[in-house]
Symmetry: C2
Subunit: 149 residues, 2 copies
Amino acid sequence: MNELDQRIVHALAEDARRSYADIGAEVGLSAPAVKRRVDRLRAEGAITGFTVRVDPAALGWETEGFIELFCRRNTSPDSIHRGLSRYPEVASASTVTGEADAIVQVFASDMRHFERVLERIAGEPFVERTKSVLVLSPLLRRFSSGSPG
Amino acid sequence: MNELDQRIVHALAEDARRSYADIGAEVGLSAPAVKRRVDRLRAEGAITGFTVRVDPAALGWETEGFIELFCRRNTSPDSIHRGLSRYPEVASASTVTGEADAIVQVFASDMRHFERVLERIAGEPFVERTKSVLVLSPLLRRFSSGSPG
DNA sequence: GATGAAACTCCATAATT
DNA sequence: AATTATGGAGTTTCATC
């Protein structure tokens, strides 16, 4: 991935529906040349897809928070993944170093909804206890990664 | 935002470069009808843009972590935002309830890079101390939100 | 190897019904 | 909201460097 590829990815990060001709004019390539590079980046896995950026608040998901998970001994990352993927409210989850075993980002419609999700997650068999914080202001959200699943 | 809008957003979330005709065929609308709804959702702020989904690892951003920020008294969310937006490594940042004042998500090329970023952020005038964890496995990443800034 | 030009197909978009 | 019409975009082909 060279500098030209990076500029193309950067352009797509700002507006994924921009035309290849438009991007080409910016980086100094023809439309087919841009498309070929995008196709290659997709094939290589550097680009995993294109998605829409939504405003959670505008969709009625006004309450956001992070839940730290303290799991039972011998809980595999895979079982955490399987347990959490059933919740549509879970936006992201990662196993982490430190005291907690995982950090889970949750979007809920309101506080009651958040509390309900928190209680259900805390009640999962692999979860021993949780510690959660609420987001006050989302200051910055820059890019998207990973798969849609 | 009714059920039809949600299905359109869902389709765009999976592939933001799909044609309106294609999406229309799925939800039972003509291409112009889909476009009108997308335009309206953008005007209303429910859709804030379209972006590319990248694989951080494929781009060489192999190291991910969360940094909790404990700020000086009277630090405004806006000054945190201004301070952090200069770091390309910062993917997201939010002010939160609890002991810490903000949670910052950082992508770095490797551990040395992460450490360098951490030290620079910890050295920001509004930062009193930090507490950080490293991501072991990203289990789930579901959707994108907010503005590119 | 990667590129640009051309050709062809399909899409986006505006106007009309 | 569907249909129609048109300018523009996506995509393939091919010649070129």
